[in-house]
């Protein structure tokens, strides 16, 4: 077991390095610090001296990979790659290009609102999906199943923007149950989060129910289900006790990937409802053309995703010992 875990963790390192290099080449080889400086300075002030001054103020004046002006270890560390890209490995996300605020501090303060938005969405969606999915698997082939499947396709075909705009119009403007947008810390956030959570659940319902329905249908034809039926168990007991328990393996191994990714928040929802989370942070950075923040968020998002995959693999090997031997 220990050997498997170590092997699996070691496998993550080259992928992290690859992501880091890819992000670096996208931001510093495809586009150059000069381009960034010119975009940040605007049309009016673009003399070479100003570009140079901007680059020095933001730490972009180093060479990319190898600094021949320094010696020893410093010829590698005094470079853009080391200071701006590799530094993200140990949590040094640098400074915003526009406000020069430290990005790491901002990220830490925005994790909580993002989690408060996405964790309830995640939990409610999962419970609803599993319950409805099981129900449909039990009703398979009936008109209710066909109608629900068609409903899922319709739910999937509607843009998330419509759910958000219609939700805001109906609940916040017409019924005046909740505020349109905004956020307060503490328990007061509940009334601000009600609508975004509701909309978020709605967006994920269509594809989720369909997915779980197929997961359960795969189980329904297994031998142990036939045995359980032959024993004389009711269909409800078969589904909710036997099928659900066995389908938990693919479901549970899927959870860690999403759990870590929840930290990134939801770009659309946070933007529409002005929730000060990481998704909204990214969107603001895009609007102000803040390359440093976008770069940091791309890397952070990838790291969380990769760690989530690692966790789910480890979970899988705990639940299903066959994996470890392979």
């Amino acid at each position: 077991m220990a050997a498997y875990i170590i092997r699996r963790i070691l496998y993550v390192l080259p992928i992290l390095l690859g992501v880091n290099l890819l992000v670096f080449s996208l931001f510093f080889l495809v586009s150059t610090p000069d381009d960034m400086a010119r975009q940040a300075l605007g049309d009016k002030s673009q003399s070479p001296e100003q570009v140079q001054r901007w680059k020095e103020a933001h730490g972009y004046h180093y060479p990319r990979f190898y600094n021949s002006g320094e010696d020893g270890w410093r010829c590698l560390s005094e470079t853009i790659f080391f200071r701006k890209s590799a530094a993200m490995f140990w949590g040094d996300f640098g400074f915003s290009d526009m406000t020069l605020e430290p990005i790491g501090k901002e990220i830490r303060s925005r994790i909580l609102p993002s989690l408060c938005l996405t964790v309830p969405i995640f939990l409610i969606t999962m419970v609803t999906n599993i319950f409805v999915g099981l129900l449909l698997a039990g009703l398979r082939g009936s008109w209710a199943d066909r109608a629900a499947q068609f409903g899922c396709v319709v739910l999937m075909s509607v843009s998330a923007l419509l759910y958000i705009i219609a939700g805001q119009y109906l609940f916040a403007r017409e019924l005046q149950l909740v505020p349109v947008s905004g956020f307060l810390p503490g328990w007061a956030m509940a009334k601000f989060l009600f609508l975004p959570v509701l909309v978020g659940v709605f967006c994920a319902l269509g594809s989720g129910i369909r997915f779980y329905r197929t997961v359960f249908l795969e189980e329904v034809n297994r031998d142990y289900v036939r045995t359980a039926r032959a024993k004389g168990l009711s269909e409800g007991r078969v589904l909710f006790l036997h099928v659900l328990k066995n389908a938990m393996i693919p479901i549970l191994t899927n959870v860690p990937v999403q759990l870590l990714f929840l930290i990134m928040g939801n770009l659309l929802l946070e933007n529409f409802f002005s929730i000060p989370g990481l998704g909204g942070f990214t969107i603001n950075a895009i609007a102000t053309q803040d390359f440093a923040i976008v770069r940091a968020m791309v890397f952070l998002g990838s790291v969380l995703y990769i760690l989530g995959l690692l966790l789910s693999d480890l979970c899988y090997s705990l639940v299903d010992p066959r994996v470890r031997l392979g």
Binding site: P14, I15, G18, V19, L22, V23, L26, F27, V30, S31, R140, G141, V153, V154, M156, S157, V158, S159, A160, L161, L162, I165, Q168, Y169, R173, T214, L217, E218, N221, F261, M264, L267, L268, N271, T282, I283, I286, A287, Q289, F291, V294, R295, M297, V298, G301, S302, Y305, I306, L309
Partner: protein, 374 residues
């Protein structure tokens, strides 16, 4: 040089013709095979799928009409051709697509500002001075009363015209993204699965790294560097989406490689490129088609969200996302202005829903494994 040609009208016409010819050729080729004919017969049996297909064809027709066009010479008031100098070259306009020419009444019937569907008077009131020196608030009559089926927007452009023009953008997003991703995915996926070894490891590493970056964030990074626009968005979405199909094709090729008919071909000394073309590619084609069909709708939906977030096609390209972005504050006005938002959503639904239904039917028809589960 090439880019200039592609952006000119003759270039665009050529691309459309080439694509249509390619599609026709593929259909002809496939209809000769019994497996695909069987699938086709099964699809025709589903009423819902046939209706969806007809709707999709209508959308495609509008998109094609909007992609083909020509430039016409500019004429002055007397109808004579304008020339750059006396006896010089004839001056041409920017060019209009066939759809533009068909919709000339919609395109040119511009109002001053908002008007509700089929209204005879303007939506907002204006202060007018009545004879006698008094001023009063009235809703002035429209220049073209009752001619705007879906009303007009803030700057008085017909909403129906905008919705129809957005069809081309939606279709391009859905199709071009796939067209860019499929060759990459097929090449890398089949190579990795067929040859294995170090090549397989390298390709696996490549797509693991690519798919580790969350799609939205990758597109955000790509668009902030290259700027907003339709070609950039297609490219970004294409790069972000080839990994899924690649993984699928690699696994399927690994399986096929062990199949007896491939083993027999290897023993007979058939060169590997021939095995790949004759035995592997036809046997993974259904996976490519299913993936492309199911991806199409999610890409059309993604365009709207991305354009809203400021990393999409930009405001100068007509698209449903741009329409929604434009009209985002209109529901907060009193009285509510709903027609532009609703038109964008309904036109989008009219493309995405049939695509989803048709895609599902195609998948069920092509993948017998899934069918037995029902």
């Amino acid at each position: 040089m090439l880019l200039e040609f592609l952006q000119s009208w003759s270039g665009r016409n050529a691309i459309v013709l080439l694509l249509l010819a390619g599609l026709l050729g593929l259909l002809l080729q496939l209809s000769r095979r019994e497996y695909w004919r069987l699938a086709g017969r099964e699809i025709i049996q589903s009423k819902l799928a046939v209706i969806s297909f007809v709707l999709l064809c209508l959308y495609a027709l509008v998109a094609v009409l909007d992609s083909v066009g020509w430039r016409s010479p500019v004429r002055d008031a007397s109808g004579a051709l304008c020339r750059s100098q006396p006896g010089g070259e004839i001056v041409y306009d920017q060019g209009l697509s066939v759809l533009d020419r068909l919709l000339t009444p919609l395109r040119t019937r511009q109002e001053k500002t908002y008007s509700s569907p089929l209204a005879r008077v303007q939506f907002s009131s204006e202060t007018q001075v009545v004879p006698g020196g008094m001023s009063q608030r009235v809703q002035p009559p429209l220049r073209h009363p009752g001619s705007h089926l879906l009303g007009t927007d803030r700057i008085g452009v017909d909403v129906l015209y905008q919705s129809l023009k957005s069809i081309r953008t939606g279709m391009i997003i859905g199709l071009l993204t796939t067209l860019l991703a499929v060759p990459f995915a097929m090449f890398f996926g089949i190579t990795a699965g067929y040859y294995g070894g170090v090549l397989d490891d390298c390709i696996q590493y490549l797509y693991t790294v690519m798919s580790s970056i969350p799609t939205v964030l990758f597109i955000a990074a790509f668009m902030i560097i290259f700027g907003q626009g339709l070609p950039q968005l297609c490219l970004a979405m294409g790069i972000a989406s080839w990994t899924y199909l690649c993984r699928l094709l690699r696994a399927e090729t690994l399986r096929l490689r062990e199949a007896e008919f491939v083993q027999a071909a290897i023993v007979l000394g058939t060169p590997s490129w021939r095995i790949i073309l004759r035995h592997i590619v036809p046997n993974v084609l259904h996976l490519v088609l299913i993936t492309a069909m199911l991806r199409f709708s999610s890409e059309v939906l993604a365009e709207a969200a991305l354009t809203y977030l400021g990393i999409g096609v930009g405001a100068d390209t007509m698209s449903w996302g741009a329409m929604i972005n434009d009209a985002r504050m209109e529901l907060t006005r009193d009285p509510v202005i709903w027609w532009k938002l609703l038109a964008a959503f309904i036109f989008m639904l009219g493309l995405v829903l049939p695509a989803n239904i048709f895609g599902d039917t195609v998948r069920d028809a092509l993948d017998p494994k899934l069918r037995t589960q029902e």
